[in-house]
């Protein structure tokens, strides 16, 4: 569930919008006198009409050939400032690893996206879609041998709401969204949320992670006390050696409780994981080339095309992998500011869209590495409207739309004019490495008689300026989310106001209707249909020119790293992630191959070079 933490900030923005429903639920929980603020020990038995699920039918995606043993070496660019999960400095680059050691009752199958058991064996939800019930796995044990109990979840909630962790964001998020936990017995509980969610979303929003209650002492010294203490874990790995500033190792938990669970079998195979601090990416790549690191990410075009060359690749010691995934994609585009006189006319917007030669950018400066984005939310399965095709660069179409909008004449400099005004718009952007792309768009737009005035600002300043709607066109993007979100970017409630994310100032009644419906809909089929309708409407209104996608990851790895038949899952971000509970731990180390390779390197024996380009999860475009 790393995704959750990555985009917490964005979720927060959207969770504000659910206030109306919140009030009702709060009243119900206040009426129950016997409960504390956080939890309640139920005197009544579990509701009998619950529909318990356990999903032991979804396909297994690990390899039966996997062998345990060996070690995996990776690098981090700076040493973590703390080992705490929450509190000051806990959100650094190492947070991903620390959070992977934090398990929740359920998670999502990376290929079917259905809930699968992690700490729970069964789950059910209430009819009003605010509560989710869990039966915990009785086998689950902390790495210090203590069993997992409902109290560990209650403690987690208590901790997240506590002032002692010095994490106001968590305090607010958990207070706003979680009502309480009801304990039925040591292994049965219900998490009550404050807002209803769809049955699948419940797992995402209310599936909080367990904390070992017997280990923590929640006091005002919490932040200081637990900076470097190693907590027991439920995960397959536990932090082992901490050499501050140099490296950090994890070891596999002996007789891990999950070893034989359906979705954990044949996974988490290496005995030891070592993270060494290497501050520079290029230096790390040199370490990798020496065989000191097992794998290296090559998603950046420069690494894949220019740097990953030479003997170790040509002799087949190192394999290259280009793996297309189906993960939700960030929404990247150029939002036109509809409050500007020039973009009020839909024909101008359509003409403008046809004048942006995104394909040329993709084919040239981006080396065919990236792909064209077509709709407002790609990679969300049935929530994405695949039938939409982004408007292509077409001077004839651009010309005819612009003519309709009265921009027929061209001035002395070849730029279109209307009533003495030139078609010149400021494109605001916040990333220096986008220069290359924008200068191509600028030169191509000239052909259509449109002048783009490029305005590069520092990232955060640019974002602020866009929120204040100071742009004509905003070249920007939104991070991928669990489910597509439209209210912030396209609802009229956020139009023509400063400090909102509606960069286009879209104000359309029909779109509002769909978005309102989308937010209140809990039936996932209907919701997905609304999502597709919203995307269609956004396309029809032509308020944004969708730009690029990177629907894959690329990496290099030494040939002794073995991967399952399917290599990785639909939503993986690496084939050699050792820890991820749903997508990681699929590879294993073949010791024989390792010694064979080392021997071959000494004797200059060559193997067949291998570059795998796997497109089976690629979305057709």
């Amino acid at each position: 569930m790393n995704l959750r933490f990555t985009f917490l900030a964005l979720i927060l923005i959207f969770s504000f919008s659910c206030n109306k429903e919140t009030k009702k639920v709060e009243k119900v929980s206040q009426a129950d006198d016997s409960s504390s603020e956080l939890y309640q020990i139920s005197k009544t038995p579990l509701p009998s009409n619950l529909n318990w699920e356990s999903n032991l039918t979804d396909p297994i995606y690990s390899s039966p050939n996997a062998v345990k043993g060996g070690s995996y070496n990776s690098f981090i660019d700076s040493f973590p400032l703390t080992l705490r999960v929450v509190g000051p400095d806990s959100n650094g680059g190492f947070a991903g690893v620390i959070r992977a050691l934090q398990l929740s009752p359920t998670d999502y199958h990376p290929n079917t996206r259905k809930p699968i058991p992690i700490l729970a064996t069964e789950w059910a939800h209430s009819k009003d879609l605010t509560t989710i019930y869990y039966k915990l796995n009785k086998k689950a044990k902390w790495s210090d041998g203590k069993p997992l109990r409902v109290d560990d979840f209650i403690f987690a909630l208590e901790m997240y709401k506590s002032k002692h962790i010095v994490a106001p964001w968590y305090n607010e998020y958990y207070t706003k969204n979680f009502a309480k936990i009801i304990k039925y017995d040591e292994h049965t509980m219900a998490v009550v949320g404050k807002n209803p969610k769809s049955s699948e979303d419940l797992h995402y929003y209310y599936g909080l992670g367990a904390f070992p209650k017997h280990f923590y002492n929640l006091s005002k010294n919490f932040v200081k006390d637990y900076n470097w203490k190693i907590p027991p874990t439920l995960a397959p790995y536990q932090i082992d050696v901490v050499k501050k500033g140099k490296y950090l190792t994890l070891k596999r938990v002996k007789n891990w409780w999950g070893e034989n669970e359906r979705f954990f079998k044949n996974r988490f195979n290496v005995d030891k994981i070592k993270y060494t601090v290497i501050r520079d990416q290029n230096v790390a790549f040199e370490h990798f080339k020496k065989g000191e690191l097992e794998s290296f990410g090559l998603t950046l075009p420069d690494f894949w095309h220019n740097k990953a060359k030479g003997k170790i690749f040509d002799s087949g010691y190192v394999h290259k992998l280009w793996f297309y995934t189906k993960s939700p994609q960030p929404e990247m585009g150029m939002w036109m500011n509809l409050d500007r006189e020039i973009f009020k006319d839909i024909n101008t917007r359509k003409g403008f869209s046809h004048a942006m030669n995104v394909d040329k950018v993709l084919k040239t400066v981006l080396r065919n590495d990236y792909e064209r984005q077509h709709n407002a939310a790609t990679g969300y399965g049935k929530y994405s409207n695949e039938s939409i095709k982004a408007r292509k660069f077409d001077l004839k179409k651009a010309g005819s739309y612009l003519k309709k909008a009265g921009w027929e004449k061209r001035g002395a400099d070849g730029i279109r004019v209307k009533n003495g005004k030139r078609f010149s718009v400021k494109v605001l952007y916040g990333a220096k490495h986008h220069n290359d792309r924008l200068v191509v768009l600028k030169e191509e737009a000239k052909k259509a008689g449109i002048e783009l005035e490029l305005k590069l600002m520092d990232g955060s300043t640019a974002f602020k300026a866009m929120q204040e709607k100071q742009h004509d066109v905003a070249h920007s993007g939104w991070g991928a989310m669990w489910k597509p979100q439209y209210w912030g970017q396209y609802h009229s409630a956020n139009a023509s106001k400063p400090q909102t994310n509606n960069f286009s100032n879209t104000n359309d009644k029909e779109l509002d209707k769909y978005i309102d419906g989308y937010r209140l809909e809990f039936d996932s089929k209907k919701k997905a249909k609304l999502s597709r309708q919203i995307q269609q409407r956004i396309h029809d209104l032509s308020v944004v020119v969708p730009t690029y996608l990177i629907p894959y990851f690329r990496q290099a790895y030494w040939r002794w790293i073995r991967l399952p038949k399917d290599i990785a899952t639909e939503v993986s971000d690496s084939a050699t992630d050792p820890l991820g509970l749903t997508t990681g731990g699929l590879f294993w180390v073949d010791k024989k191959l390792k010694s064979e390779t080392k021997e071959a390197m000494k004797n200059k024996v060559r193997f067949k070079p291998e570059t795998i380009i796997e497109k089976k999860y690629k979305t057709k475009s």
Binding site: T364, L395, A412, E443, K455
Partner: protein, 350 residues
């Protein structure tokens, strides 16, 4: 009418300057480079110098944009003269195009599918120094970047010197409390970290040539004050100032008509080094990304591309070589001027 005659001392200085060969030749080459840069549109441009089409002559260089339709092509946007040239040549008609020697402008991306920029120097497609990371001609960017840098540093020089010389003279001339207070102000002023201010300012306003010049001048005028202050202190005690005063000249007259002209040798010797300084500071700001906005051609931007793309050495080599060449020439000129104006060569102290 009195004919224009140079002061014999000036003639002496000029002759002395001419006699220092490397400075003198540098001066000639540098002046030529300035001339070429100012009229770069005729030498480095994607627009043709002359087109003859069906009996009519067109001069696109400084004219309005001529759309493709004018020459019987099927598009309304600006004519691609390189292609037009090829077409006319293959048609063997009366029509012809005369292209500049270097037929690219600094903004256009010469991109072909399947060939990924940057591309190495190539005589066939006339990218004599290759292209940069977006397929723009490096030579064109060097030339136009040079023009911007030189205009920038001349402008900066003017502002800095006007302010610096005026304040320096006033300090030296009036002395006393005025001198002490302004000295302290300058000391405090010069301790403001320049780079941070530039970073802050360029994150708030979009830096244009004028804004950048303003920021640089804001921190650059102090240098000259110290020299002028000392010089004025010395000059104002001389007899000619006393004579002027005895004739009833006002302070302003004395400063601007007597002291400053007599300090000209000091000012002149500093000029070349200030020009070099201005160019390097614009380049370094561009290199750091706080300079002029893309896609403005700039040496700093090329330099930053060159350092990040060591696999495309032609980017880095071109700009480093150009910088070395120009800065060395300016330094030679500066040296020669200093030699030529050296008071020891023309006067004797008593």
């Amino acid at each position: 009418m009195r004919s224009f005659k140079l002061n014999p001392l000036t003639v002496k200085k000029i002759n002395r300057f001419k006699s220092i060969k490397r400075g003198y030749y540098s001066f000639i080459i540098f002046s030529l480079s300035l001339f070429f840069a100012m009229f770069a549109e005729f030498f480095v441009n994607s627009k043709a110098i002359l087109v003859k089409y069906e009996g009519n002559y067109h001069f696109p260089t400084y004219s309005d944009v001529i759309s493709g339709e004018t020459f019987g092509l099927d598009y309304k946007y600006e004519t691609n003269y390189r292609e037009l040239n090829k077409q006319f040549e293959s048609e063997e008609s009366d029509n012809f195009v005369i292209m500049p020697v270097f037929p690219y402008n600094p903004l256009e991306n010469d991109l072909q599918e399947g060939i990924y920029p940057p591309t190495a120097p190539n005589m066939d497609n006339q990218h004599f120094l290759g292209t940069d990371t977006t397929g723009r001609d490096i030579l064109a960017r060097l030339v136009y970047g040079y023009r911007i840098a030189i205009v920038f540093s001349l402008g900066l020089l003017l502002i800095n010197y006007v302010i610096g010389i005026t304040i320096g003279c006033l300090m030296g001339f009036y002395g006393g409390w005025f001198d002490i207070i302004v000295q302290r102000i300058i000391e405090i002023w010069s301790n403001i970290p320049f780079l941070y201010v530039v970073i802050i300012v360029s994150s708030i306003v979009v830096p244009s040539l004028g804004v950048l010049m303003g920021i640089m001048a804001f921190f650059g005028w102090m240098g000259m004050t110290w020299y002028m202050r000392t010089k004025t202190y010395k000059e104002k005690e001389r007899e000619y100032v006393l004579a002027a005063r005895a004739l009833g000249a006002k302070d302003r007259k004395i400063i601007f008509s007597h002291i400053i002209p007599n300090s000209i040798s000091l000012i002149v010797t500093f000029i070349p080094f200030s020009i070099a300084g201005g160019m390097t500071s614009l380049t370094s700001l561009d290199y750091l990304g706080f300079g002029l906005l893309p896609p403005t051609p700039s040496w700093g931007e090329l330099l930053s591309q060159g350092t990040s793309r060591l696999d495309a050495p032609w980017i880095g080599i071109s700009v480093v070589f150009a910088m070395i060449l120009i800065l060395t020439m300016i330094t030679f000129i500066g040296e020669a001027i200093r030699e030529a104006f050296d008071p020891k060569k023309h006067t004797t102290y008593q």
